[in-house]
């Protein structure tokens, strides 16, 4: 069956926002796409890859977002229509180039898809990257639904070419990972011509330093922005509905407009409300907003993220409509400046301004009472995940040190970050001692610091150079993270004589984001075989004296390698090997597990439960461990850690 994005015009289907964005790019005549995976943006690349064999564009998984951005930018300078996609945090990585490319702009249309994550479903933070589009001074589009996500992506290429600027399409989780009905449009048949002209329309166009220099190029950007603002005022994605005599107005952007429409319907109001819906949010559609403000006395602003358009509106009102009262997330708050919106929140917040009351759900008291019965479901690593072996070995090796030692295990981002998720069902405590040792009862409490990709190792290095001596300094990272952000950080730690133990958890895939291939996989993005790029020789080449591999599934090997690395003076690296179990299971046909617990031999000590594997069970009444034969993959880890020899393997 042809990929969903290659269906003909007129086709209608329920598409995920990311699929809709991919379809929009196909309709626009995409020529190149580069991305680094990141939830909730990854499916844009995955879907385009799935259609690539039947299409004429190029797609790659770049090794980080800055690289992806530059790949797309370089191609756009030669006239191609290019796309790059990333999650919110990805843009932080690409920032350097992102801020400077607009000074000369682009020739072919370049669209930068950034998927934000209000409510941090999949992210370290809730940042609103629309502010970064405004910061870099490039146009920003924000879809209300999946149909608009497709239409806007297509239109963004034309807009980008028209203005000669990269254009940001800002999505959010509830667009990218939600689905909606989409009607397909015509796909452009022609492709942009590829060429290069060093002095195209401006001397040294693609060289910010070349005469007339960076300031003049910044000046050019501002002339482009004036044209961009005119576009915003005329954009089909920006609409103003203003009934005669309206006093109350609603300004809603992107998904906020969907919530606003539903909330007005629910309250049964809206006929006499001025409604300004903004889909092109930067530059701010000033003329449209002026027309909107005229004659209003109150405006309610509904936007997902930070008060971006709200602040633009306030600035405009300061000149033009001083008496209008503006309510949103900024100065006069009707919404919290964190978390995400939904129709219930919007309805409740705006109801008072209509003299209305938000309809209450039935049985509210019963709901409150029964909520106490709901228990959390903390996420876990998969059954038989190689990271379980690494963390258990690390805990075992660290436990050999004196009981009062306060080790610091600096985390990083990947499936293995779950070792910092903690257990939500437990009692959360604080303590004000300067230093204190905590015992990790499961792998989910092993990491002590956890921020963003690549941050762990340099934090450990900083602690090392400071002379931290209350315990051991450890950092971890995965194979995809290694190529994304660790290379310079590791070289730095080595060059500056760090004394840390660094574990590279090589499971051969970029797992957390859906198992994309990377240089350690042995496959390229098109799933064609490609020689594995080994991590060990790279580390050796940096001059690390202590570097070895260990099998994450072999307790003795893993524990002794980590123990030796901890004891070593200087930077010591262990590459923990063990392919992602999910990927392995896709090749090896899974049968019922042969591993079982001999109940007589089990002492109920829970050592196996502390391994944190979802396949281990514990019967609290009988104080006996058990194994879930459907989940268990017979990896042998719990068997090796059982002190009573109670976990055994059935022979068939």
């Amino acid at each position: 069956m042809a990929s969903v994005v290659l269906q003909p015009a007129g086709h209608r289907e329920v598409l995920m926002g990311n699929e809709a964005i991919a379809r929009g790019a196909v309709e626009a005549g995409l020529q190149l796409m580069a991305a680094y995976p990141g939830t909730p943006s990854s499916e844009v690349g995955e879907v385009l890859l799935s259609a690539a064999p039947e299409s004429d564009y190029y797609v790659e998984w770049s090794l980080n977002e800055k690289v992806a951005f530059e790949v797309a930018a370089g191609a756009a300078l030669t006239g191609a229509r290019t796309l790059c996609a990333m999650k919110n945090a990805g843009l932080n990585v690409a920032m350097d180039t992102f801020m400077t490319l607009p000074y000369g702009g682009v020739k072919g249309g370049m669209v930068v898809v950034v998927a934000d994550d209000p409510d941090a479903h999949y992210s370290s933070n809730e940042q609103d990257t629309r502010l970064l589009a405004a910061y870099a001074e490039i146009p920003c589009l924000e879809p209300e639904n999946q149909q608009e996500a497709k239409d806007m992506t297509k239109a963004a290429f034309a807009l980008s070419e028209d203005l000669e600027l990269p254009v940001m399409l800002r999505s959010v989780s509830r667009i990218s990972h939600a689905s909606g009905d989409v009607l397909f449009g015509e796909a452009r048949a022609e492709r942009n011509e590829i060429g290069f002209n060093k002095h195209y329309e401006m001397p040294y166009r693609w060289d910010v330093y070349g005469p007339p220099g960076a300031v003049n190029k910044h000046k050019w950007l501002h002339t482009a922005l004036v044209r961009a603002q005119a576009k915003a005022n005329e954009s089909p994605f920006n609409t103003l509905v203003k009934p005669k005599g309206a006093k109350l107005g609603v300004l809603a952007t992107g998904l906020g407009a969907a919530y606003a429409k539903e909330a007005l319907n629910r309250l049964g109001v809206g006929d006499d409300v001025a409604f300004l819906k903004l889909g092109m949010v930067f530059p701010f559609a000033d003329k449209l907003a002026k027309a909107f403000l005229q004659g209003l006395d109150t405006v309610l602003v509904i936007e997902e993220g930070d008060p971006l358009c709200e602040n633009f509106l306030r600035a405009l009102a300061q000149e033009d409509a001083r008496n209008v009262k503006i309510f949103g997330k900024g100065i006069s708050r009707i919404f919290e400046p964190y978390g995400e919106l939904n129709t219930d929140i919007v309805t409740a917040a705006i109801a008072p301004y209509f003299g209305a009351q938000a309809p209450a759900a039935a049985k509210e008291a019963i709901r409150q009472e029964l909520a106490k019965l709901v228990i959390p479901r903390s996420s876990t690593l998969c059954a038989g995940c190689s990271h379980l072996g690494t963390y258990c070995a690390l805990r075992t090796a660290l436990s050999a040190y004196p009981e009062d030692a306060v080790h610091i295990v600096n985390g990083d981002i990947g499936c293995y970050e779950q070792a910092g998720y903690g257990i939500f069902g437990g009692d959360l405590q604080i303590d004000n001692s300067a230093s204190r040792r905590y015992q990790a009862e499961s792998p989910y409490d092993v990491l002590d610091t956890l921020y963003v990709m690549g941050s762990g190792i340099s934090m450990a290095h900083g602690q090392s150079k400071l002379g931290y001596d209350k315990g051991k300094l450890v950092a971890v990272c995965g194979d995809s993270t290694f190529f994304h952000a660790i290379l310079p950080a590791l070289a730095n730690a080595v060059y500056n004589h760090s004394n840390i133990c660094f574990l590279v958890l090589d499971n051969r895939w970029t797992c957390m984001t859906g198992h994309q291939p990377n240089p350690t996989t042995g496959l390229d993005a098109y799933a064609q075989e490609y020689p594995r790029m080994e991590i060990l020789p790279i580390i050796k080449a940096m001059g690390v004296e202590f570097v070895r591999t260990a099998d994450a599934y072999q307790k003795e090997d893993a524990v002794s390698a980590i123990a030796d690395a901890l004891a070593f003076e200087g930077p010591a690296v262990v590459v923990m090997e063990g392919e992602c179990q999910l990927q392995r299971q896709r090749r090896v046909k899974k049968t019922m597990a042969k591993t079982y617990v001999n109940a007589e031999a089990c002492s109920g000590c829970k050592t196996c439960v502390q391994l944190g594997c979802p396949a281990t069970r514990f019967n609290a009444a009988e104080k006996k461990a058990g194994i879930d034969g459907v989940l268990c993959v017979d990896c042998g880890l719990c068997q090796q850690y059982c002190t009573e020899n109670a976990i055994r393997v059935r022979r068939r």
């Binding site: 909606g180 629910r266 228990i375 069902g425």
Partner: protein, 204 residues
Amino acid sequence: METNIIVTGVGGQGSILASHIIAEAALKEHGETCRVRVGETFGAAQRGGAVASHVRIGEGVYGPLLGRGTADLIIALEPMEALRLSVPYLAAGGTVVMNTGMQVPVDVKVGAVEYPSLEAIQGALQRLGKRVVAFDGGELASEAGSAKVLSMVMLGAAFASGLLPFCEETVLSVVAAKVPQKTIDTNLEAFALGKKTYQQAVHA
């Protein structure tokens, strides 16, 4: 017309597939007049986390999420997930179709909390909505030929409730189009078993 449905379970159980089958079937029959939305939350879904898909079908539908207390139907592949979603979302007149097979969270295993009894969960669901149909869907899935078709068993049962706004022929054609070719028969068998079980439970 507006129909609001939640399909929920634990990562890997197939609730997302079931929700997309419902959405696509609804689009096939009502695409000209209605909007269709599927809103999802699946934090670390592959790793046994809680997964919930909000499916909305109707003329006045814009956003991806249900309002509090508006679910006409909750299809739950796991009892605690049935409760987690029913507490905020089940409408007073709503129906829950639930698999009784529990997936015990790590929080229980480490002794931080206790998993309530099935009776307590069913009792709670009864108080929240109008009708609760609970059965061992895993057993029926195995009967159909594979533990992996649990979500089709539950979809069949949900279909029998009459709350899904499309006919059987439509949904079966979408099932056949969305599941791997080799597993079509098993999936259709699972659907039929679920449907029969619901009918028997309601008429018993």
